[in-house]
């Protein structure tokens, strides 16, 4: 039994996000705890009009402290030999009042997102947005065109982790018998794939459906109407997770056996470092 046959479909969307969050938390918990304590040392309290005292808590009350410079390399230069130079303490009640803030306002909210107020020197034309982070943003990474499946060639069937035994004697997909490909050697917890899928060697009209994992969707990726055709189509599909495999594709033919060739040209990930192969 292959690992893929465990079919737990655990799955991936929410689990991946939890895993990523857990990893982030594990990497930062120690520092965050100390930072919180150090951020509010409580050794001295200052009032508006007092001097800002280093290494203490300075409370300006309902006023803004403004630092201007007419020259120099940045108005405020922060350095830290051991940690972060700047911390914007996440606010619990930022919204909606922060939407009325001045251009250039930055704040970290209680979901860990960086709020950015921007615009062209006119608050009336201002925009508000949140900086992309790898927590929730995606990015497409182009890779060198890579043939990840060619059922005509036994050497190019090696990515099949489930269903290889259901191929016919010449290696074609059999209608109603799905195969699962693992792309774990190309990407770590990938979100989706772009590429080109080709069908050949069919015996009659049919349909190929490509999807991530789980129940086969009622959709099609390539369609053909008779035998002997060679047809290609662009492919964009999410990646799924099956058992220990974290980035899989599932392919199934309907109505006719067919050879399938899958060429990968791009991967959709949260951060380019998840791509494990050379980029285009």
């Amino acid at each position: 039994m292959t690992r893929a046959s465990q079919q737990d479909h655990d799955h991936d969307p929410k689990r991946r996000r939890l895993l990523r969050r857990a990893a982030t938390a594990a990497a930062t918990t120690a520092g965050a705890g100390v930072a919180a304590a150090v951020g509010l040392p409580g050794t001295a309290q200052a009032a508006p009009g007092d001097n800002l005292i280093m290494g203490t808590t300075n409370d300006a009350g309902p006023t803004t402290t403004t630092v201007n410079a007419t020259n120099g390399n940045g108005t405020l230069v922060l350095g830290n030999t051991a940690g972060a130079p700047l911390r914007l303490v996440p606010g619990d009640s930022l919204y909606p009042q922060v939407f009325d803030s001045e251009l250039g306002t930055l704040a970290v909210d209680n979901q860990g997102d960086l709020f950015v107020k921007a615009g062209v020197d006119n608050v009336d034309n201002a925009t508000v947005g949140w900086a992309w982070t790898s927590e929730w943003a995606t990015t497409s990474v182009a890779v060198a065109p890579t043939r990840v499946l060619d059922t005509r060639d036994p050497n190019l069937r090696r990515a099949i982790v489930s269903g290889a035994g259901d191929l016919d004697s010449s290696g074609r997909l059999v209608p109603g018998k799905p195969i699962v490909l693992s792309l774990d050697s190309y990407v770590r917890d990938g979100y989706a794939l772009k590429g080109n899928v080709t069908v050949a060697g069919m015996t009659g009209g049919g349909v190929l459906t490509v999807w991530g994992s789980g129940t086969k969707p009622a959709t099609s990726t390539v369609n053909w109407w008779t035998s002997g055709q060679v047809l290609s189509n662009f492919l964009f599909t999410e990646l799924g997770a099956v058992g220990a495999y974290r980035s899989v594709l599932t392919l199934q033919a309907t109505a006719s056996p067919t050879h399938v060739i899958l060429d990968m040209t791009s991967l959709l990930v949260g951060h380019p470092s998840q791509v494990l192969v050379s980029r285009a």
């Binding site: 300075n58 390399n73 921007a118 492919l235």
Partner: protein
């Protein structure tokens, strides 16, 4: 933008003179609104005045060796924003510089002794691709497959083929809220003769084709990427996310499957969302996610989003 290498000695010269930095120390300051700032000016070399305005001719440096990852400077505000960077196009740049720009936030770094500034992508200036489970939004061959049609349902023959010179408008409600585009697969089946179809999402019918065929009885597919637009029916019902398909010549059955969405924030992809962070759909959320969702929706509505079908 480029400039010369930052002068590190300048940073050292302008260290705050009146207080030594101690291990484990950090500075926390609290601020509220700029409108309340006290106009107490100070000159270079003077202390920074809390709640006042301090203006110098050189920058102010604060350094620390705060342990455990603690920050050198921590800013906190219980009722509003913590930091404002004055909007002004800088003459120079420095490694690590954060610049307020018209589009959002610029980040500067030193590359080969020159400072390069890059724009941060935000939900206000960029869209991202979010995969969704393959979802069939149109199949003209069945009544169920035509359920999302706002226009064109009466232009389908008894074999489920869309008649030539027909415009279809398909809504994507419950799939996406205020999306910018889609990716997927369009299929033609049971074609009557050669022809083509065009998929688009915003504005007038473009001079373009998405899928072409050359004879009767064909079954062909093509990948599609299209903008999403908005549409108001004759009955006055407004749909914020639609895609249009024009079957130009040759009757054919039309099938549209969606596999990905281009959105300003993943919360806009509401169908079994891989990347959602709010845990709820954009239109119905509350709290922090809710106000954020409202802003994203308003931004998506800017400009001309309407798909026009009168051409």
């Amino acid at each position: 933008m480029t400039s010369s290498e930052p002068d590190r000695s300048a940073s050292r010269r302008t260290l705050l003179r009146r207080a030594a930095v101690t291990g484990g120390a950090a500075v926390a300051a609290t601020a509220v609104t700029a409108a309340n700032a006290t106009p107490a000016a100070a000159a270079t070399g003077d202390p920074v005045v809390l709640g006042g305005t301090t203006t110098g001719t050189l920058h102010t440096s604060v350094t620390s060796a705060a342990e455990g990852g603690a920050a050198t400077l921590a800013l906190q505000n219980t009722t509003g924003a913590t930091l404002q960077l004055t909007r002004r196009t800088p003459t120079y740049g420095w490694g690590g510089g954060l610049i307020s720009t018209a589009d959002g936030l610029g980040v500067q770094q030193v590359v080969n002794s020159a400072v390069v500034q890059h724009e941060t992508l935000t939900t206000a200036n960029a869209t991202m691709l979010v995969p969704i489970p393959p979802t069939r939004v149109l199949d003209s061959r069945s009544a169920a497959g035509r359920a999302r049609l706002l226009e064109g349902a009466n232009r389908v023959d008894s074999q489920g083929r869309v008649l030539p010179d027909t415009l279809l408008v398909v809504h994507l409600r419950d799939i996406v809220d205020y999306g910018d585009g889609l990716m997927g697969n369009v299929t033609v089946a049971n074609t009557a003769r050669g022809g083509f179809a065009t998929v688009w999402g915003r504005g007038e019918l473009p001079t373009a084709s998405t899928i072409n065929w050359w004879g009767a009885g064909q079954l062909l597919s093509n990948g599609v990427i299209s903008q999403l637009g908005a549409y108001e029916t004759d009955a006055g019902e407004y749909y914020e996310d639609v895609v249009a398909i024009w079957v130009a010549v040759g009757a054919t059955a039309v099938i549209l499957d969606v596999t990905g969405l281009l959105v300003f924030h993943p919360d806009s992809a509401v169908i079994n969302n891989v990347k959602a962070v709010s845990g709820d759909r954009l239109a119905a959320d509350s709290g922090t996610s809710g106000v954020r969702a409202q802003v994203i929706k308003e931004a998506a509505e800017r400009g001309d989003r309407e798909v026009r079908t009168g051409a």
